[in-house]
Protein backbone atom coordinates (compact mmCIF):
# COMPACT_ATOMS: atom_id res chain seq x y z
CA UNK A 1 0.00 0.00 0.00
CA UNK A 2 2.80 2.40 0.97
CA UNK A 3 4.85 1.47 -2.10
CA UNK A 4 1.90 2.07 -4.38
CA UNK A 5 1.27 5.42 -2.77
CA UNK A 6 4.89 6.43 -3.14
CA UNK A 7 4.73 5.54 -6.84
CA UNK A 8 1.62 7.71 -7.17
CA UNK A 9 3.34 10.60 -5.42
CA UNK A 10 6.41 10.48 -7.63
CA UNK A 11 4.23 10.32 -10.76
CA UNK A 12 2.33 13.36 -9.59
CA UNK A 13 5.57 15.20 -8.89
CA UNK A 14 6.63 14.80 -12.50
CA UNK A 15 3.32 16.03 -13.86
CA UNK A 16 2.75 19.43 -12.42
CA UNK A 17 0.05 21.00 -14.53
CA UNK A 18 -1.41 23.97 -12.75
CA UNK A 19 -0.62 27.42 -14.05
CA UNK A 20 -0.56 30.60 -11.97
CA UNK A 21 -3.48 31.89 -13.97
CA UNK A 22 -5.63 28.85 -13.20
CA UNK A 23 -4.75 28.99 -9.52
CA UNK A 24 -5.74 32.64 -9.24
CA UNK A 25 -8.95 31.96 -11.15
CA UNK A 26 -9.82 29.35 -8.55
CA UNK A 27 -9.28 31.81 -5.72
CA UNK A 28 -11.88 34.11 -7.29
CA UNK A 29 -14.60 31.50 -7.50
CA UNK A 30 -17.55 32.30 -5.39
CA UNK A 31 -21.00 30.96 -4.79
CA UNK A 32 -20.17 27.54 -5.99
CA UNK A 33 -20.13 25.47 -2.88
CA UNK A 34 -23.05 23.34 -1.87
CA UNK A 35 -23.91 25.26 1.27
CA UNK A 36 -24.40 28.39 -0.74
CA UNK A 37 -26.85 26.56 -3.00
CA UNK A 38 -28.57 25.02 0.01
CA UNK A 39 -28.90 28.49 1.56
CA UNK A 40 -30.38 29.76 -1.67
CA UNK A 41 -33.06 27.05 -1.79
CA UNK A 42 -33.87 27.40 1.90
CA UNK A 43 -34.03 31.18 1.67
CA UNK A 44 -36.36 30.98 -1.33
CA UNK A 45 -38.54 28.53 0.56
CA UNK A 46 -38.49 30.75 3.63
CA UNK A 47 -39.57 33.78 1.61
CA UNK A 48 -42.53 31.83 0.21
CA UNK A 49 -43.46 30.71 3.74
CA UNK A 50 -43.23 34.28 5.04
CA UNK A 51 -45.42 35.55 2.19
CA UNK A 52 -48.12 33.02 3.07
CA UNK A 53 -47.71 33.83 6.76
CA UNK A 54 -48.23 37.50 5.93
CA UNK A 55 -51.38 36.67 3.95
CA UNK A 56 -52.74 34.75 6.92
CA UNK A 57 -51.90 37.62 9.27
CA UNK A 58 -53.74 40.07 7.04
CA UNK A 59 -56.82 37.85 7.08
CA UNK A 60 -56.86 36.84 10.73
CA UNK A 61 -60.05 38.82 11.29
CA UNK A 62 -61.87 36.41 8.98
CA UNK A 63 -61.23 33.51 11.39
CA UNK A 64 -64.52 33.87 13.19
CA UNK A 65 -64.46 30.50 14.97
CA UNK A 66 -62.03 29.34 17.66
CA UNK A 67 -60.99 26.29 15.63
CA UNK A 68 -60.22 28.45 12.59
CA UNK A 69 -58.19 30.80 14.74
CA UNK A 70 -56.32 27.83 16.22
CA UNK A 71 -55.56 26.46 12.74
CA UNK A 72 -54.34 29.91 11.68
CA UNK A 73 -52.00 30.28 14.63
CA UNK A 74 -50.57 26.78 14.21
CA UNK A 75 -50.07 27.36 10.49
CA UNK A 76 -48.44 30.73 11.17
CA UNK A 77 -46.04 29.19 13.65
CA UNK A 78 -45.11 26.48 11.17
CA UNK A 79 -44.59 28.99 8.35
CA UNK A 80 -42.44 31.29 10.44
CA UNK A 81 -40.58 29.23 13.02
CA UNK A 82 -39.39 26.30 10.93
CA UNK A 83 -37.81 28.36 8.13
CA UNK A 84 -36.03 30.53 10.71
CA UNK A 85 -34.67 27.44 12.48
CA UNK A 86 -33.63 25.89 9.19
CA UNK A 87 -31.80 29.00 8.00
CA UNK A 88 -30.15 29.32 11.39
CA UNK A 89 -28.89 25.75 11.18
CA UNK A 90 -27.44 26.30 7.70
CA UNK A 91 -25.83 29.54 8.84
CA UNK A 92 -24.26 27.58 11.69
CA UNK A 93 -22.80 25.12 9.22
CA UNK A 94 -21.44 27.82 6.93
CA UNK A 95 -19.84 29.64 9.81
CA UNK A 96 -17.43 26.79 10.50
CA UNK A 97 -13.92 28.14 10.24
CA UNK A 98 -12.04 25.56 8.19
CA UNK A 99 -8.68 27.20 8.80
CA UNK A 100 -8.90 27.52 12.55
CA UNK A 101 -9.53 24.00 13.83
CA UNK A 102 -7.83 20.64 13.62
CA UNK A 103 -9.43 17.85 11.59
CA UNK A 104 -10.82 16.25 14.74
CA UNK A 105 -12.31 19.52 15.96
CA UNK A 106 -13.83 20.17 12.52
CA UNK A 107 -15.28 16.65 12.49
CA UNK A 108 -16.87 17.25 15.89
CA UNK A 109 -18.30 20.66 15.11
CA UNK A 110 -19.42 19.74 11.61
CA UNK A 111 -21.22 16.59 12.65
CA UNK A 112 -22.92 18.24 15.63
CA UNK A 113 -24.19 21.04 13.44
CA UNK A 114 -25.18 18.57 10.75
CA UNK A 115 -27.19 16.55 13.27
CA UNK A 116 -28.93 19.72 14.39
CA UNK A 117 -29.78 20.71 10.82
CA UNK A 118 -31.03 17.23 10.03
CA UNK A 119 -33.24 17.19 13.11
CA UNK A 120 -34.96 20.35 11.91
CA UNK A 121 -35.39 18.86 8.44
CA UNK A 122 -36.87 15.67 9.91
CA UNK A 123 -39.32 17.61 12.05
CA UNK A 124 -40.34 19.66 9.01
CA UNK A 125 -40.94 16.52 6.97
CA UNK A 126 -42.97 14.88 9.75
CA UNK A 127 -45.08 17.96 10.34
CA UNK A 128 -45.60 18.59 6.63
CA UNK A 129 -48.53 16.23 6.24
CA UNK A 130 -50.20 17.47 9.42
CA UNK A 131 -49.74 21.08 8.37
CA UNK A 132 -51.25 20.40 4.98
CA UNK A 133 -54.51 19.47 6.69
CA UNK A 134 -54.33 22.21 9.30
CA UNK A 135 -53.84 24.90 6.66
CA UNK A 136 -56.74 23.81 4.42
CA UNK A 137 -59.47 25.41 6.58
CA UNK A 138 -57.38 28.57 6.89
CA UNK A 139 -56.98 29.07 3.16
CA UNK A 140 -60.54 27.97 2.50
CA UNK A 141 -61.66 30.90 4.66
CA UNK A 142 -59.16 33.33 3.16
CA UNK A 143 -59.84 32.45 -0.47
CA UNK A 144 -63.55 31.54 -0.46
CA UNK A 145 -64.84 32.94 2.80
CA UNK A 146 -66.16 29.47 3.65
CA UNK A 147 -65.82 27.55 6.88
CA UNK A 148 -64.31 24.25 5.77
CA UNK A 149 -65.79 22.42 8.75
CA UNK A 150 -69.39 23.48 8.15
CA UNK A 151 -69.83 23.53 4.36
CA UNK A 152 -70.96 20.57 2.30
CA UNK A 153 -68.09 19.00 0.38
CA UNK A 154 -68.05 17.35 -3.00
CA UNK A 155 -67.02 13.69 -2.46
CA UNK A 156 -64.36 14.12 -5.13
CA UNK A 157 -62.68 16.67 -2.91
CA UNK A 158 -62.04 13.94 -0.33
CA UNK A 159 -60.76 11.60 -3.01
CA UNK A 160 -58.42 14.28 -4.32
CA UNK A 161 -57.26 15.34 -0.87
CA UNK A 162 -56.79 11.72 0.14
CA UNK A 163 -54.66 11.06 -2.94
CA UNK A 164 -52.55 14.15 -2.29
CA UNK A 165 -52.13 13.12 1.36
CA UNK A 166 -50.90 9.68 0.33
CA UNK A 167 -48.49 11.27 -2.12
CA UNK A 168 -47.19 13.67 0.52
CA UNK A 169 -46.80 10.85 3.06
CA UNK A 170 -44.85 8.69 0.60
CA UNK A 171 -42.64 11.60 -0.40
CA UNK A 172 -42.13 12.52 3.25
CA UNK A 173 -41.18 8.97 4.15
CA UNK A 174 -38.63 8.93 1.36
CA UNK A 175 -37.21 12.27 2.48
CA UNK A 176 -37.24 11.23 6.12
CA UNK A 177 -35.35 8.01 5.40
CA UNK A 178 -32.70 9.99 3.55
CA UNK A 179 -32.27 12.37 6.47
CA UNK A 180 -32.20 9.46 8.91
CA UNK A 181 -29.36 7.84 6.99
CA UNK A 182 -27.24 10.97 6.98
CA UNK A 183 -28.00 11.58 10.65
CA UNK A 184 -26.87 8.05 11.46
CA UNK A 185 -23.62 8.71 9.62
CA UNK A 186 -23.03 11.89 11.64
CA UNK A 187 -23.87 10.08 14.87
CA UNK A 188 -21.43 7.29 14.06
CA UNK A 189 -18.62 9.77 13.63
CA UNK A 190 -19.46 11.51 16.90
CA UNK A 191 -19.65 8.21 18.72
CA UNK A 192 -16.32 7.11 17.26
CA UNK A 193 -14.73 10.35 18.40
CA UNK A 194 -16.25 9.97 21.84
CA UNK A 195 -15.30 6.30 22.25
CA UNK A 196 -11.67 6.95 21.43
CA UNK A 197 -11.17 10.28 23.10
CA UNK A 198 -9.36 8.85 26.10
CA UNK A 199 -6.32 7.51 24.33
Amino acid sequence: MQTLWTQLSSQLESQKKLTNKLIMEMTQQKFRNRFYKLSLYETSGAVICFVFAFIILLNLDKMNAWYLMLCSIVTLLFLVVLPILSLGAIKGMRSLNLAKHSYKETLLRFNKKRKNMLLIQKVAVMLGVVMMWVSIPVFSMIMNNKDFFTIKHDPWLWVFTGAVTIGVILFSRYGYRGYKKVTASAENVLKDLEDHSDY
Binding site: W5, N33, L98, A99, H101, Y103, F110
Partner: protein, 160 residues
Protein backbone atom coordinates in the same frame (compact mmCIF):
# COMPACT_ATOMS: atom_id res chain seq x y z
CA UNK B 1 7.48 38.38 -3.96
CA UNK B 2 3.81 39.38 -3.96
CA UNK B 3 1.17 37.50 -2.03
CA UNK B 4 -0.24 36.04 -5.25
CA UNK B 5 3.17 34.87 -6.41
CA UNK B 6 3.91 33.24 -3.07
CA UNK B 7 0.54 31.56 -2.98
CA UNK B 8 0.72 30.21 -6.52
CA UNK B 9 4.22 28.92 -5.90
CA UNK B 10 3.04 27.10 -2.77
CA UNK B 11 0.08 25.57 -4.60
CA UNK B 12 2.18 24.48 -7.55
CA UNK B 13 4.79 22.95 -5.28
CA UNK B 14 2.09 21.01 -3.42
CA UNK B 15 -0.59 20.35 -6.01
CA UNK B 16 -0.11 16.62 -5.55
CA UNK B 17 -1.40 16.85 -1.97
CA UNK B 18 -4.63 18.50 -3.08
CA UNK B 19 -5.06 16.05 -5.93
CA UNK B 20 -4.69 13.01 -3.67
CA UNK B 21 -7.18 14.40 -1.17
CA UNK B 22 -9.75 15.00 -3.90
CA UNK B 23 -9.32 11.44 -5.17
CA UNK B 24 -10.09 10.10 -1.71
CA UNK B 25 -12.93 12.39 -0.69
CA UNK B 26 -14.75 12.66 -4.02
CA UNK B 27 -16.04 9.76 -6.03
CA UNK B 28 -16.15 11.08 -9.56
CA UNK B 29 -14.20 13.47 -11.77
CA UNK B 30 -16.73 16.24 -11.53
CA UNK B 31 -16.83 16.22 -7.73
CA UNK B 32 -13.04 15.94 -7.65
CA UNK B 33 -12.75 19.05 -9.82
CA UNK B 34 -15.21 20.92 -7.62
CA UNK B 35 -13.46 19.87 -4.44
CA UNK B 36 -10.07 20.79 -5.89
CA UNK B 37 -11.23 24.31 -6.55
CA UNK B 38 -12.90 24.61 -3.19
CA UNK B 39 -9.68 23.58 -1.46
CA UNK B 40 -7.64 26.16 -3.38
CA UNK B 41 -10.27 28.77 -2.58
CA UNK B 42 -10.17 27.95 1.14
CA UNK B 43 -6.37 27.99 1.16
CA UNK B 44 -6.38 31.42 -0.43
CA UNK B 45 -9.02 32.62 2.03
CA UNK B 46 -6.87 31.65 5.00
CA UNK B 47 -3.53 32.55 3.45
CA UNK B 48 -3.28 35.81 5.35
CA UNK B 49 -3.60 33.99 8.66
CA UNK B 50 -0.78 31.59 7.83
CA UNK B 51 2.13 32.98 9.72
CA UNK B 52 4.72 30.37 8.84
CA UNK B 53 4.84 29.02 12.38
CA UNK B 54 3.87 25.61 11.05
CA UNK B 55 5.21 23.79 8.02
CA UNK B 56 3.50 24.74 4.79
CA UNK B 57 2.50 21.15 4.20
CA UNK B 58 0.98 20.90 7.69
CA UNK B 59 -1.07 24.02 7.05
CA UNK B 60 -2.16 22.75 3.64
CA UNK B 61 -3.12 19.30 4.91
CA UNK B 62 -5.17 20.75 7.74
CA UNK B 63 -7.20 23.11 5.59
CA UNK B 64 -7.48 20.69 2.66
CA UNK B 65 -8.73 17.87 4.88
CA UNK B 66 -11.18 20.17 6.66
CA UNK B 67 -12.46 21.44 3.33
CA UNK B 68 -12.76 17.92 1.93
CA UNK B 69 -14.66 16.85 5.01
CA UNK B 70 -16.99 19.80 4.82
CA UNK B 71 -17.58 19.92 1.12
CA UNK B 72 -17.37 16.35 -0.01
CA UNK B 73 -20.79 15.27 -1.03
CA UNK B 74 -22.85 12.44 -2.36
CA UNK B 75 -25.16 14.44 -4.59
CA UNK B 76 -24.15 16.42 -7.60
CA UNK B 77 -24.10 20.15 -7.59
CA UNK B 78 -23.82 22.75 -10.31
CA UNK B 79 -22.11 26.07 -10.49
CA UNK B 80 -19.55 27.97 -12.47
CA UNK B 81 -16.24 26.14 -12.38
CA UNK B 82 -12.82 26.70 -13.71
CA UNK B 83 -12.18 23.91 -16.17
CA UNK B 84 -9.47 21.63 -14.84
CA UNK B 85 -10.24 18.68 -17.02
CA UNK B 86 -7.36 19.15 -19.37
CA UNK B 87 -4.94 20.31 -16.78
CA UNK B 88 -4.63 18.15 -13.73
CA UNK B 89 -6.96 15.30 -13.29
CA UNK B 90 -7.20 13.55 -16.60
CA UNK B 91 -3.72 13.28 -17.95
CA UNK B 92 -2.05 11.14 -15.37
CA UNK B 93 0.05 9.11 -17.81
CA UNK B 94 -0.03 6.14 -15.47
CA UNK B 95 0.51 2.74 -16.85
CA UNK B 96 -2.75 0.70 -16.85
CA UNK B 97 -1.57 -1.76 -14.20
CA UNK B 98 -0.50 1.00 -11.85
CA UNK B 99 -3.72 2.89 -12.54
CA UNK B 100 -5.83 -0.18 -11.76
CA UNK B 101 -3.99 -0.81 -8.52
CA UNK B 102 -4.30 2.82 -7.54
CA UNK B 103 -8.00 2.81 -8.33
CA UNK B 104 -8.45 -0.20 -6.03
CA UNK B 105 -6.53 1.55 -3.28
CA UNK B 106 -8.56 4.75 -3.67
CA UNK B 107 -11.79 2.72 -3.61
CA UNK B 108 -10.76 1.01 -0.39
CA UNK B 109 -9.83 4.27 1.27
CA UNK B 110 -12.97 6.00 0.05
CA UNK B 111 -15.25 3.61 1.88
CA UNK B 112 -13.56 4.29 5.20
CA UNK B 113 -15.26 6.75 7.52
CA UNK B 114 -14.15 10.39 7.56
CA UNK B 115 -11.88 9.95 10.55
CA UNK B 116 -10.00 7.01 9.10
CA UNK B 117 -9.73 8.55 5.63
CA UNK B 118 -7.84 11.56 6.91
CA UNK B 119 -5.50 9.52 9.08
CA UNK B 120 -4.62 6.90 6.50
CA UNK B 121 -3.96 9.57 3.88
CA UNK B 122 -1.44 11.25 6.12
CA UNK B 123 0.12 7.91 7.02
CA UNK B 124 0.51 7.04 3.34
CA UNK B 125 2.06 10.46 2.78
CA UNK B 126 4.85 9.32 5.04
CA UNK B 127 3.94 11.51 8.00
CA UNK B 128 5.12 10.38 11.41
CA UNK B 129 2.56 9.77 14.13
CA UNK B 130 3.34 13.00 15.95
CA UNK B 131 2.90 15.04 12.78
CA UNK B 132 -0.37 13.26 12.00
CA UNK B 133 -1.45 14.01 15.56
CA UNK B 134 -0.54 17.66 15.11
CA UNK B 135 -2.51 17.97 11.86
CA UNK B 136 -5.55 16.00 12.94
CA UNK B 137 -5.82 16.86 16.61
CA UNK B 138 -5.92 13.23 17.69
CA UNK B 139 -3.48 11.97 20.28
CA UNK B 140 -0.35 10.14 19.11
CA UNK B 141 -1.44 6.88 20.75
CA UNK B 142 -4.89 7.20 19.20
CA UNK B 143 -3.25 7.61 15.79
CA UNK B 144 -1.15 4.49 16.25
CA UNK B 145 -4.15 2.40 17.24
CA UNK B 146 -6.31 3.73 14.44
CA UNK B 147 -3.66 3.12 11.77
CA UNK B 148 -3.39 -0.50 12.86
CA UNK B 149 -7.15 -0.92 12.67
CA UNK B 150 -7.41 0.82 9.33
CA UNK B 151 -4.72 -1.36 7.75
CA UNK B 152 -6.52 -4.45 9.01
CA UNK B 153 -9.84 -3.13 7.70
CA UNK B 154 -8.39 -2.45 4.24
CA UNK B 155 -6.69 -5.82 4.16
CA UNK B 156 -9.99 -7.56 4.95
CA UNK B 157 -11.83 -5.46 2.35
CA UNK B 158 -9.31 -6.39 -0.34
CA UNK B 159 -9.49 -10.07 0.55
CA UNK B 160 -13.32 -10.14 0.28
Amino acid sequence: MSKEETFTRIIRDNEGIIYKITRIYAGNREDQNDLYQEIVFQLWKSFDSFRGDAKISTWMYRISLNTALFHSKRAKKRGFNVSLEKVVLQHENYDPVLEERLQMLYDQIRILNDIDKGIILLFLEGKKHDEIASITGFSKSNIGTRIGRIKEKIRKQILK
